[in-house]
Homo-oligomer: 413 residues x 2
């Protein structure tokens, strides 16, 4: 017992439908490890840890599989989340260093040997900074980042946990909206606005139906290519030549050639704590332009929160991989790895095979992996078949969600 | 054979996730009937019939169960829909009577004995007018209305086909949004805007989670009660006393005491062909008011099209009943019933038992069944337990949707 250390795990950044599956993987891995004693959870990420707001996950989940099963299918963040940005670990401001001292004193007090932080870009920034500080003070706490983001925009990993389920929801709902719009013969343009500030992966997912059912939006516009309003209106005119019900998918983050967001004109201009602009209104901007040009019926459908929290429609591949990467994080940490982020590697070849590795978090934090140009057609108004081939395995399989009284059963703290 | 007549079926009004299940029921019933020969489908409702745009459904679906199975899980309207309003059958304008003459001549030419029209209020108006004209000219064509609307606002029936699946989606997504909003500790108000112009049934469905998981919106505002902005802001203040993440469900159709829609100020004022105002923006109006009063984070989530076409999440009860009511319509028509709408009757008692009846369509068309006052609490900011008890059986069970390549498989004409 004396050699054993405790583990702590936190969740950070925006909710996804799979972040709790990864948490379940960490808990399962930690419960099974001979090197780990208690398993703490930080409430509301690093912010909660600073307030010593923790829970004993080994007590909640150590008694049987039932709770873990529910955790895997519960969307959002079971432990709560935060968007706290840590100061530089090499800052010369005393209050910045005092924050790190406090953080590591709390970890010491809890006898933590293994620290797991599940999150996206901004959360990897937290792990990177804590790793720098840990090295500076010679701490032997193993710090591991576990990726999570529906945006699929983390460097170094083939894809991110949570993306597959969001992509499955988007591909499914896009097809349903296309069917819905096809019932009338009146000329109409429907614009589906999809999340994605800088990376178009989620919007690209709306096109998957093309290779499955033959139904996909007429056009797909990603933020990786400058948006040209006149070219867009030409595209709409060309689609009207084929059928009266035009459906467009557009990323909330598309920008004009001068760098301004298409939806920016209708925005308040406020930014979040990481300096990201709040977006939205891109779909409304496009339908206003279509209405002015064609005078037809228009509708904007913002997929909004359900695309990141639709726990009722989960990719089996995504949830199983999300659990696995959590368990692998524990294995890596107990093997001495620290300052690294867990990642997915896809094997070459036509069969989908995914293995788990890890890489220094320094190479990953604060950079975004966008949709490569070869995944987008020349005109920039759709994705290529290679892109759909990349996406398809990630939405494969339906995770068997447990329902109660007609709605999915969740577990809550 | 000489005694046999043909049947024709059409779909009209807005799409739902279950209208094709009812179509499948009509087809199954007609294929099995000894009194029916060919089964025609009108493309795009009565408008398509006037253009003699029909398909032979017995040829498409008579060869095996596979296509019917897919039809039952395909959302929107397989045959296409329309929003055509027929003139008065007792009009003294020659062009109005000419339209009826044309319609019945086409039915005669197709040797139609049985006419089925699946739709909501406005579609029942079509059946009622055609029934008046049929009686006037002594036609023996049996005309049957089969209800369909996510709004659940048809008179005489306990509930409508399509409502249960929409309600299941709304109850599920409301719970998921509540979980999503709960991850941060920052004060925030999220307003979920639900469809429903005059009747609050769909918005009421957001509260079902209360009796299942304990999670439901803090408040639920229906169009049946006059909306008071000051009372609403008081409600929000009271919710903030309990937790920082306030979630509100509101019907797009809520009105102020003077009869104006809450979302009206932000609307274009345009009306559809039936004189209904286009709504929307109710959620935005509320979050603007909340932001002005509390200065907190706000977000409006319009559930939009997915609430009526989410074929990936179907109520087993709804789909099975929707099929049954279609088959029963054929049985009624071949037994000589005409000018009636099929309906659901719920047995008294705690166990849910639903039988199918029919009633004169004259009593049903152009009237709406709203949420009764006893289903809404005194302050008008939530539904009662009796309302949830009414709703719960309608979302029960998960219909086993067939997926292909990660997304639900649909059938298309």
């Amino acid at each position: 017992m004396s050699n054993m250390k405790n583990a702590i795990v936190g969740q950070s950044g925006g909710p996804t439908a799979a972040i709790n599956a990864t948490l379940a993987g960490v808990i399962e891995g930690a419960l099974a490890s001979e090197k780990i004693n208690a398993v703490y959870g930080m409430r509301y990420g690093i912010e909660g840890l600073l307030a010593e707001n923790t829970v004993r996950l080994d007590e909640i989940f150590g008694t049987g599989d039932e709770n873990l099963k529910l955790l895997k299918q519960t969307p959002a963040a079971y432990l709560g989340s935060c968007r706290k940005k840590l100061p530089s670990p090499t800052s010369d401001k005393p209050e910045d260093i005092a924050l790190y001292e406090k953080l590591f004193a709390i970890l010491e007090k809890l006898n933590i040997g293994y620290f797991f932080y599940i999150g996206g870009n901004d959360s990897m920034d937290t792990v990177a900074k804590m790793s720098v500080y840990a090295e500076k003070i010679g701490s032997d706490i193993r710090l591991i980042g576990v990726p999570k983001t529906i945006d699929n925009d983390l460097m170094a990993t083939d894809h991110t946990p949570g993306f597959g389920s969001a992509a499955k929801y988007i591909a499914t709902v896009a097809q349903e909206i296309i069917r819905d719009c096809a019932v009338y013969t009146v000329k109409a343009v429907t614009v589906i606005e999809v999340m994605g500030r800088d990376a178009g992966w989620l919007t690209a997912a709306s096109a998957i139906g093309r290779e499955v059912s033959g139904y996909a939006p007429d056009y797909v516009y990603l933020p990786e290519v400058a948006f040209d309003m006149e070219a867009f209106l030409e595209d709409v005119a060309a689609a009207f030549e084929k059928h009266p019900n035009v459906v467009i998918a557009v990323s909330e983050g598309v920008r004009l050639a001068d760098g301004r967001y298409v939806g920016e004109a209708t925005q308040s201009g406020s930014v979040d704590i990481f300096g990201h602009k709040y977006l939205g209104g891109t779909g409304d901007t496009l339908i206003d332009a279509v209405k002015a040009r064609f005078g037809c019926k228009v509708r904007a459908v913002e997929l909004n929160l359900p695309q990141r929290c639709a726990g009722h429609l989960l990719s089996k591949t995504d949830i199983e991989e999300s659990v696995r990467i959590g368990a692998s994080a524990v294995e890596a940490a107990t093997n001495g790895i620290s300052g690294e982020m867990m990642l997915f590697e896809r094997a070459q070849g036509s069969e989908y095979v995914c293995s788990i590795g890890h890489k220094s978090v320094m190479d990953i934090a604060n950079a975004a992996r966008c949709v490569p140009r070869e995944f987008i057609n020349e005109r920039g108004n759709n994705v290529t078949d290679a892109c759909v081939d990349y996406l398809k395995p990630l939405i494969a399989g339906e995770y068997p969600v447990i329902f109660k009284g007609g709605i999915p059963e969740h577990i809550c703290l």
